[in-house]
């Protein structure tokens, strides 16, 4: 499979993603400069973490107008899998591909540490190899990860099982104390209504191999690969 990794000016987790896809998954990783206008030939697209455009104005606010974002929107509307990690999530929110917005962390500081998230919905192409309710230890590294949406949107996310990850204790309890940044409803990751676009603040690419002492993040990438292979198989059979 061919995974595109979008490179914005200021992306800094692009190479981590490329490494995981090529070295850990053994798949093709294609860096896509943000000036590109086509995503032809790609099976999935990842918007990596970083500080696109220096986080000027708001996180993701300027990157969402990069030429490639038109192609990302088309790719998503045609059912293509899009994963946004950290700054990638913020860009997807600003672009309107996911609902809501990010506020500054409740305690203002940039938080860089391992946290725990609970897989609330394992029936997605991004979590298919996880158990429902499974707890993953994954690092976060952000200053603006305090997820906000209006009450109606939040109710919709809850009702449609669009909240994929919630911050939790190591035992899997979703408590205010386990919420590092003040996110509404402990939200760490959401998907769109159609289910093919996921945004998450934690960094699975930073914990995807044993040598790093944690390979929990590999499950996300393996799930994506598994879903892509099944979709291809289905297309062949059909």
């Amino acid at each position: 499979m061919n995974f595109g990794v979008i490179v914005f000016p200021g992306s800094n987790c692009d190479h981590d993603c490329i490494h995981v896809i090529s070295s850990v998954l053994g798949q093709k990783a294609t860096p896509v400069w943000h000036k590109e206008t086509s995503l032809n030939g790609l099976d999935a697209v990842i918007l990596p973490g970083g500080f696109s455009y220096g986080d000027y104005l708001r996180t993701g606010a300027i990157a969402r107008f990069s030429p490639v974002m038109g192609a990302v929107k088309t790719f998503a509307s045609e059912g293509g899998m899009v994963l946004g990690i950290c700054n990638g999530f913020q860009i997807l929110l600003e672009a309107g591909l996911l609902p809501g917005a990010m506020l500054r962390n409740k305690l203002l500081s940039f938080i860089c540490k391992d946290i725990h998230i609970k897989v609330e919905n394992a029936a997605t192409p991004f979590t298919g190899l996880c158990e429902s309710g499974q707890v993953l230890k994954i690092p976060i590294a952000h200053a603006d990860g305090n997820y906000y949406s209006d009450p109606v949107t939040l109710a919709g996310l809850q009702a449609n099982a669009q909240i994929i990850f919630r911050y939790c204790t190591p035992e899997g309890r979703v408590t205010p104390e386990a919420n590092p940044n003040g996110s509404l409803d402990n939200i760490a990751g959401i998907r769109n209504a159609e289910g093919n676009v996921l945004g998450m603040m934690p960094h699975p690419e930073r914990c995807a191999e044993d040598v790093l002492g944690n390979d929990a993040g590999r499950l996300i990438f393996l799930s994506m690969l598994d879903a892509l292979k099944k979709a291809k198989l289905k297309a062949v059979v059909a």
């Binding site: 708001r58 506020l103 203002l108 003040g182």
Partner: protein, 80 residues
């Protein structure tokens, strides 16, 4: 024509920076200060000379880029 644009978080949305400033003011003895809201200020020079058109242009800028209307509100003055 110059546009002076102010962007703040909507009232009711937690403003952690505003809260921190408020606490600092309190610590410094400014006990009358409350509801501190932290925002952004943007100045834009416009080629447009007609007030109505400049107004429409600045509004579009705010809606499209300068403010995220899910969480922020904006106001502006036009001068010159």
């Amino acid at each position: 024509m110059k546009a002076k644009i102010h962007i703040t978080l909507k009232s009711g949305i937690l403003d952690p920076q505003g809260k921190a400033i408020e606490h600092a003011l309190e610590t410094l003895g400014f006990t009358s200060a409350s509801n501190v809201r932290m925002g952004k200020y943007v100045e834009v020079d416009l080629k447009e000379t007609t007030k109505d058109r400049a107004d429409a242009e600045v509004k579009a800028m705010c809606e499209k880029l300068l403010a995220n209307t899910i969480i922020e509100e904006y106001r502006y003055e036009l001068a010159g």
